[in-house]
């Protein structure tokens, strides 16, 4: 994938990186160059041939003709000499000698012409041989032959003529050399033309062949490559059209097809991405649909269960209400005789004390205590059932917090002393805790419950009530903390201690007695007052109950009964304050 060069920039791998256009242009350029080369070469060679031919035409051929003429003139001269020998009379001799002079003049012309055709030094030298031989020959002719010939007519041999032979041979030889030289030049010219022709032919052949081969190679190669590459592209296109989005063309090179292929690949890639996204969306949609269906189903189920719960709650509330009513009625009914028992026991005690009957007084005291305890139990029960029934009324007053705390502590102090406990009150904020706008009786009851509870589970220890006032996001609040050094509560029981009719441990119940409603009522009261109770304890070290109350009960203007609520196990961490906020 990275090996592709999407921009079509020619890579380092030579021709493969070139585009088709570049390749075609390159091949065309090479062909053009070869053709131009061919043209230039042919022109040059033809120029050379033309030059040679024109030299042959303007020099060699006229020169040969002229040499033929020279030869003819020599022959003519020679025949004139022979005629001169044969002829005996002076008139013929004179005529022949005039003819010789004419031939000599014509020869001079021929020589002058021949000089124009002389190209090389060798030409000139050979020609000058001819010329010299001719001059010697004619000189001899005039100086020796003609005088001898003029006077010769009777001899059987002709020494005057014979004497000329070497000179004539020399002349003829020189002319022959000149002729041969000329013929040689003609042959050289012909050979040069032929050589030029052969060279040209070879060059043209090679050049044409190279052009053809190059064109063929480039054309066929390009066509084959192109068709193969396009074929790959086509098959890839078909495959993609048939749905194979994983198909890639992956064409190397930098030509247009490679560009197309890389674009195609990218297009397919994009298609694949979109396809994947679409599938994802589909899946999400499907899941969402399923969830919606599930939710709808759940909703229906919950609705059904809620209705069932409502019905159950209504039933439970109804039965609870009936129970509470029963309890309230029962408590009230129990209080009346108990009050009577206690009143009479009081009276008895007063009488016995007056009479001094000490032993009886102690028993009466026990009756009285048991009676009080019973009444307390009943009161609690009554309170509880009131609260449960929502019949507990709040009597909101403004009280001094410090006084309230001192009062409660003083009430409990005898009990504490009785169990050899030290009871302390600590007022934070310089004892200026201000006032509490709440139901003081209930506050007092809560604190009393907590303190007497602490005393009950502590022996020879220390109990401290700490009161503090603070202002935070929840408004102006008061905190009452009751800490003891008693037996403490195991953490697994912490949740249960606020449940009705429970104590932390059933064994405790047996040791310490009590209805088990004290903490329940206390919490319910605290909650009624807009606060809550929190407990923190460590077995063997002690417990600390914290009551958090608003300085002013919210919604005081219209104090309303707390909505009845089924007390049940609540999710509550040991450290979380358990409020009920209405």
């Amino acid at each position: 994938m990275n090996s592709e060069t999407p921009n079509g920039v020619p890579g380092g791998d030579g021709l493969r990186g070139l585009s088709i256009r570049q390749k075609l242009l390159g091949a065309f350029g090479v062909d053009l160059t070869l053709m131009a080369l061919l043209g230039a070469f042919a022109l040059m060679q033809m120029g050379a041939m033309n030059e040679t031919a024109s030299r042959v035409g303007t020099q060699t051929i006229p020169s040969m003709r002229n040499i033929d003429q020279i030869r003819d003139l020599i022959w003519e001269y020679r025949s004139l000499q022979l005629a001169h020998l044969v002829q005996g009379n002076a008139a013929d001799h004179a005529r022949l000698e005039r003819s010789m002079a004419t031939v000599e003049a014509r020869m001079a012309d021929s020589f002058a012409r021949q000089r124009a055709y002389l190209g090389t030094d060798a030409d000139r030298e050979t020609f000058s041989d001819v010329h010299r031989a001719w001059v010697i020959y004619t000189d001899h002719n005039h100086s020796r032959f003609l005088p001898a010939s003029r006077s010769t007519n009777t001899g059987s041999v002709q020494p005057a003529s014979s004497r000329l032979n070497p000179l004539y041979e020399r002349l003829e030889g020189a002319v022959e050399r000149l002729t041969r030289m000329n013929e040689q030049q003609a042959q050289d010219a012909m050979a040069a033309v032929q050589a030029t022709y052969r060279t040209s032919r070879r060059f043209i052949f090679v050049d044409t062949l190279v052009s053809l081969v190059l064109s063929a190679v480039v054309g066929l190669g390009l066509a084959a490559t192109l068709s193969r590459r396009l074929g790959r592209l086509t098959s890839a296109t078909r495959a993609v059209a048939a749905g194979d989005l994983e198909r890639r063309v992956d064409l190397a090179g930098g030509d247009e097809v490679a560009l197309l292929a890389s674009d195609f690949d990218r297009m397919v890639e994009s298609l694949r991405d979109q396809h994947a996204t679409l599938q994802l969306r589909n899946e999400e949609l499907r899941q969402s649909l399923e969830q919606q269906q599930r939710l709808t189903r759940d909703l229906v189920l919950r609705k059904e269960s809620e209705e069932a719960a409502d019905r159950a709650r209504a039933r439970a509330e109804a039965s609870n209400s009936a129970k509470s009513l029963f309890l309230a009625t029962m408590s009230h009914e129990l209080r009346t005789p108990l009050n009577a028992i206690l009143g009479y026991a009081q009276l008895l005690k007063l009488e016995t004390d007056q009479r001094g009957e000490g032993r009886m007084g102690a028993d009466l005291g026990r009756i009285q205590a048991a009676g009080k305890h019973l009444r307390a139990l009943i009161d609690n029960l009554l309170d509880f059932s009131k609260i449960e029934q929502g019949k507990m009324e709040l009597e909101v007053l403004r009280v001094e917090v410090a006084a309230l705390a001192e009062e409660v502590v003083e009430i409990v102090r005898p009990l504490a002393i009785e169990r050899r406990n030290q009871l302390r009150l600590r007022l934070e904020g310089n004892a200026d805790l201000g006032t509490l706008h709440s139901d003081a009786g209930k506050v007092r009851q809560v604190l009393f419950n907590l303190l007497s509870n602490a005393v009950k589970f502590t022996e020879g220890g220390e109990i401290t009530l700490t009161v503090a006032r603070r202002t935070d996001a929840g408004g102006d609040r008061l905190t009452f903390r009751v800490a003891d050094t008693g037996i403490g509560i195991e953490s697994r029981h912490l949740e249960r201690i606020f449940e009705p009719f429970r104590q932390a441990d059933s064994s405790i119940h047996r040791r310490f007695g009590g209805t088990g409603l004290g903490l329940v009522v206390s919490r319910q009261l605290a909650e009624m007052l807009g606060g809550g109770i929190e407990v923190d304890s460590e077995p063997g070290v002690g417990s600390e109950f914290t009551v958090d109350l608003p300085a002013v009960i919210p919604g005081l203007e219209a104090p309303r009964p707390r909505s009845p609520h089924v007390p049940g196990p609540r999710p509550m961490s040991t450290r979380t304050m358990s409020h009920v906020r209405s």
Binding site: P147, T152, S156, S162
Partner: protein, 378 residues
Amino acid sequence: MKRRNSVWLLACLGALACTGPAAESSDPVAAGDAVAPVTAEAPGPAAGSSLDPSPYADLEGSVVVDGSSTVFPITEKVAALFESLAPTASVSVGVSGTGGGFEKFCQGQIDITGASRPIKTAEAERCEATGIRPVELPLAFDGLSVVVHGDNGWCSCLTVDELARIWHPDAEDRLLRWRQLRPEWPDEPIRLYGPGRDSGTFDYFTRAILGTEGESRNDFVGSEDDYLLAQDISKDPGALGFFGHAYYHEHRDRLNLVAIDGGAGCVVPDVEAIGAGRYRPLSRPVFLYVAAAALDRPAVSRFVDLYLSQARYLAPEMRYVPLPEGAYELARQRLTRRLIGSVFDGGSQVGVSIERLLELERRGTAPASAPGGDGGAR
């Protein structure tokens, strides 16, 4: 090497001509050597100064000369000189060989004939039969020269015996290679060239070498035209030939001269050897024969006169050895007295020295007082 030797010898020859006993004046010979032989107007200072053109001015008619090719070169010169002196007269010079010349001469066709040997008895008789009376005029001595091709590096000297072996009739178609002559010579063909049977030179050669005139093998190339012979020999590396020395001289750049051993070592035909009679047996006198009747014509008379006066200048020019002045004087006397006949016995005389010739001439001329004039040397 050979050629250079020849040239040196020729130079010697020229020098001897200057100092030799035959040379009375060194000037003409030297001038003749140097001056181009063609110019008839300058035969030599001595000749030119002594020539008075006036006697020739009004000469008319023709002089017809023919005969020996050996004499021809001198005759040609004289004819040219004569024509320049006597423009109104004409000279015709032909070459037919000594024999051919005598034939025409005796038939009265010509006035003068050159001869490279004395007239034969038969020829003299033929002339007598037609009434032609020949006047014999000795001209010079020629060293008949045996030559080979210029590239022939082996044959520089031949004995008379070898020459005889070569030219003997028995050698015909047998002696065909040089090696047959001497074993150290190459096995190359030997081809013979010689003057034709009309030639006096042929006659003399056969007489001198083989003993009998005209006795020779026949398988040789013969011509009365020595120019053609010289040209042929100069083109044939295996050639051996002979002719008058003048022709050797004219072709000396292409021919080699062969020295002849006549029993006293190899001798080349230079002026000294010929003059001293050492070039034997091929030294020989050459002659001019004039018809006595023709001498009545002033042109002929003047021509012969001129000839005799110029012979001693022209002969060296042609590399012939001129005769002592006395000999020309005797010849002039024979002319004046129209002495008929030859001082010789007829035909070729071998081994005739200049002294002998002079003696013969004196003897032949002396009885000038003899009546009739036909008291030849017989």
